[in-house]
Amino acid sequence: MNKKRSFMNSIAAAPHIFWAVLFIILPLLIVLYYAFTDSDGHFSFSNIASLPSYASIFWLSLELSIIATAICLLLGYPLAYIIAKSKPKTQKILSMLLMLPMWTNLLIRTYSIMAILDNGGIINTLLGTSMQIVGTKGAVIFGMVYDFLPYMVLPIYTCISKIDKNMWEAASDLGCNTFSTLTKVIIPLSRSGIISGVTMVLVPSISTFYISQKLGGGTFELIGDTIERQFVTGALNVGAAISLVMMILILISLTVMNKFGDSDEGGIIV
């Protein structure tokens, strides 16, 4: 009985395992292979050794993505709170509005931002100015915030709306006004949502290349651009090495963040 069941289970799991091996494990191994070989296919540490020269790009990427994540959190938490506190019907409409931009391709959305911020763009035309917005850090951060805000709001919204109604009432009963209910009870209880949101914004922000390419106006380069450039120019080995280190760094930071989250509240799994 048991044996039969486990056999059936493995049959059912087979396509997924096949998929995982082919499209996740295998590519990772390929990355690993390229990272530790030179262009002739010989084992080498030279790629890894060349990484310190990219440190300044890495720090810039980190800086911009942390700022973007912080802005997303500051904008996203109140928004998530407002949605979660509104009537069920309003909740549906508001979360729909939030999701709506995500139906458009990320690249197209980034292009539209470009059209808005550009020299001859909507903002400058309306103001009758010729401010150089594209090509500044601000424009890149704006793009990151615009593109990834929903990823911050949704997990926090889900988390807040799952908090037992009794918690709000208990807080109010025990002497909290609206503000202290938020700070003493609701924010601590939505910690796992915050951690998910931060992860889901920080990770794509730090590794993005099209946002910085389009909105950075070619004036500066983020780590995602660097990786892309390596692959486009055929420098597979260095590209692979940077990717590998990035993956390891992200993995470490996720592990650290999850330590602060409630393990059973299902944030982002590592």
Binding site: D164, E169, S172, L174, P188, L189
Partner: protein, 372 residues
Amino acid sequence: MAKLIELKGITKSYDGEVILNSINLYIRDGEFITLLGPSGCGKTTTLRIIGGFETADEGELYFDGTEISDVPPHKRQVNTVFQKYALFPHLNVYENIAFPLRMKKISEEDIKKRVTEMLKMVALVGFENKSVSTLSGGQQQRVAIARALVSHPKVLLLDEPLGALDLKLRKDMQNELKTIQKAIGITFIYVTHDQEEALSMSDTIVVMADGEIQQIGTPTDIYNEPKNAFVADFIGESNIVDGIMLEDKKVRMSGHTFDCLDGGYDKNEPVDVVVRPEDVDVVKPENGMLTGIVSSVTFKGVHYEIIVDIKGFKWMIQSTDYVAPDEKIGLFIEPDAIHVMKKSKYSGKFGDYSSFSDELDTLSDADTAEEF
């Protein structure tokens, strides 16, 4: 005892459905009052209005003589023990209890003193640093009580607080709650659908049904002098028989004229007559005021539960003597065992045991279906 809380004409409806229909009630300082009724009778809504979690559509709510309908919960001197405790999972036992004191910005020293005092009262000394999620249901309950009492409210609201506990623990907690209430001497307003709990703990019971108060009284009043068929049936077991009040102290039912102690009715007024199962004596058929055929006998430990068919109406009798099914028996009822009630909208709906098991089924369904 002075009136502490007063509800005047409190009315509340949700989506056009009337939950509370003009409730008038006052609660005295220091009493243990229980709102008792089946699911959906409006007892929890009444409690939530007093706590400040709901606002009445109409009517006034007074606390110590002041109208408080618009006062938010955190400004009322009323605290609640929630049905599912609502302990804060991100805080340990100590911090949960200290929570309301911290909101009042009390000094750390006083907080420690008062939390320790509370922990002693609910017998949880040594649990300070435990996470609340590791506690058993009974322990969580105690933390909830301690947290609600630590800021010395004038009134404690308890919404079916023992519902989630098993029978043994529930009995212990009943005693403990009563002891705590006596010790600190504040008002407890307790909501339950369990009539036994209500009878054993309360100074005053308010029986509610269909958004209306059916009766207010002491446990003995409610049990011995129910006002209508609903109350008689809901509190304990009752045989409720159609009768005719021939004159004062004479009531006729099931084809026999009984002496009773009630009076003040019109001549030949139709009434409901309540006879408690434990007040009926089983005698030989020739000595009985009524005779009937035993349709079933169930052993209940302390007594036998006997269902007797008397002219098509099934009576329940509790007797320590065994009788066999299909046996013909006589029933003897003392005058003080008969309680006469005015006819009400609940007449004829309760008190016949012909569909006993069905009734139990629907009751338990209703309990699980509706909890709010």
